[in-house]
Symmetry: C2
Amino acid sequence: MKYLKTFELIEAVVRAGSIRKAAEDTNLTASALNRRIQGFEQEFGWPIFERLPRGMRLNPAGELLMQHIKLQRNDLTRVQSQVADLSGQRRGHISIACSQALLPYFIPEQIAFYRAEHPGVSFTVNVRDRAQAEQDLASFRSDLALVFEPVHLVDFEVLFALPQPIHAVFRSDSALSRKTELRLHDCLSRKLVLPAQAYGVRHLMETAATRKRQTLTPIVETESFELIRHYVTREDAVGFQIPIGLSTREQGAIAHLPISEKDIPVGRLLLGQMKGRALPVASAKFSQQLVSALAQLADQ
Amino acid sequence: MKYLKTFELIEAVVRAGSIRKAAEDTNLTASALNRRIQGFEQEFGWPIFERLPRGMRLNPAGELLMQHIKLQRNDLTRVQSQVADLSGQRRGHISIACSQALLPYFIPEQIAFYRAEHPGVSFTVNVRDRAQAEQDLASFRSDLALVFEPVHLVDFEVLFALPQPIHAVFRSDSALSRKTELRLHDCLSRKLVLPAQAYGVRHLMETAATRKRQTLTPIVETESFELIRHYVTREDAVGFQIPIGLSTREQGAIAHLPISEKDIPVGRLLLGQMKGRALPVASAKFSQQLVSALAQLADQ
DNA sequence: ATATGCGCTGTGTTTTATGCATCGCTATTC
DNA sequence: GAATAGCGATGCATAAAACACAGCGCATAT
């Protein structure tokens, strides 16, 4: 959109930090870019940049304006998406911030299912921990977030909450396989493979361990859920994960069992969006699909 | 703002109903205007107008776009207002849709009080009945609405609700002056001066009368609350109004008394804004002042 | 002291937007 | 049923806006 050009240029200057660098990025000369900024500031009524000896930085007025620009552009894409929808075309793009546990089974299945009906829709899937996911929503980098036990919950509008007990993951020939119910102390005496501190699973486990006056001392700590699943096949260790990231059918080498709720409270996998935001049509439809899929899981 | 020019032109075409008429209004030639519309439609991706033999009309896509334009412009003025505020200037404009009862005392006093502190702020006061007031909010023609017993209450976010019993208004030498508590049947036998059907006072009275198997047959029915107040000085009749529109101190010729709650339920004077809308700074501050003023009235 | 990078401005050039005249179309009017 | 009036669209010349280039003054970094 041409009439948004000025906004894009302003953003380019914000990113680059100086007019001259931004001019290179935008294939303009510094003078032309400079004039557009000055022209806009005059129309707007106030300067939006601080002029520093080393470049430009947004002043408070500029910060407010940037907020408006993002909201504005987002609303326009929503309108375009709605128009596309009423024109019979179901096109669009959906960007999701989700936690690792969704990657192996849930998200691929859901995207494939949606695209089977709406091939014109494309997806961006960003792996984010629970804190980053909220930032992604707030900055409009993602339309939807699907995270386990998010942190702040400001600006996060919950569309669905799926209870998820923490499961222990171990090799099928482990002694744990013979149990029917798993208690925390069954695991703590064994070799632990744990996700990093930032993750919800770890947070719930730390809380539970502290309550029992115990500490968690993993032999492997990792940010990769995939590593956790695979490591336990190599050594008789115990990993931990939420069931949505684990295959329902027993998979040869790997087995898993839920840990009793008496020891670790059931966590919540939350589907959410930016509070108060009107999602584009495609994202809204997809979120409805996700809600019904999650509801089905909850009923099982 | 220059970059909003295209939007203004689109609105001009919508208003005028044809490019040629809109071209006159905007001091452009029809060809230039035509090209801008076409250019925008191409950028936007879809036509936003239906081409009829007699002119142009918005199509559904255009309706959606207009909604976006209004929201967009409104948000920009909010940002500008916020910037003005953080620049130390308290400038701005506040538009209020309110019912007639507020005109004689409440609104003038409140505006004067606010302007005493913020002389840079100007006001528009539109007299609207309870249905129109909501439309004004929804179309951004007004920032705030102050109405008695509104009708729909969709998109209407209540900021404060002030209970208001209906008062009978009569000349001081009327027989009613000797009463301490007034019942509905004291009034119905007398000559009635009533507001028109659209008004909340009338609506409450009609409901009360119907419940008592009675009908209201006014000798004068009017849209003007001022007329009601003045007419009762000319003839020994009874008018009806809410107390916020009546002077607290007895005013020579006119007296008023509340009608018992047993007969007519207490109505609500509601201060509200468009649901979910972020008001400009000046309007937000003024609404806070109104809330505290109304709260003070409620405590009495 | 020198060099570098910055925002800003004067001047000529290129791109864009506008004005004018005109076409083809459709519904109304006589 | 022909004439007419009003409409949106389009080709072309022109006016206006945006742009590139070169260079200035200034503050920091080397």
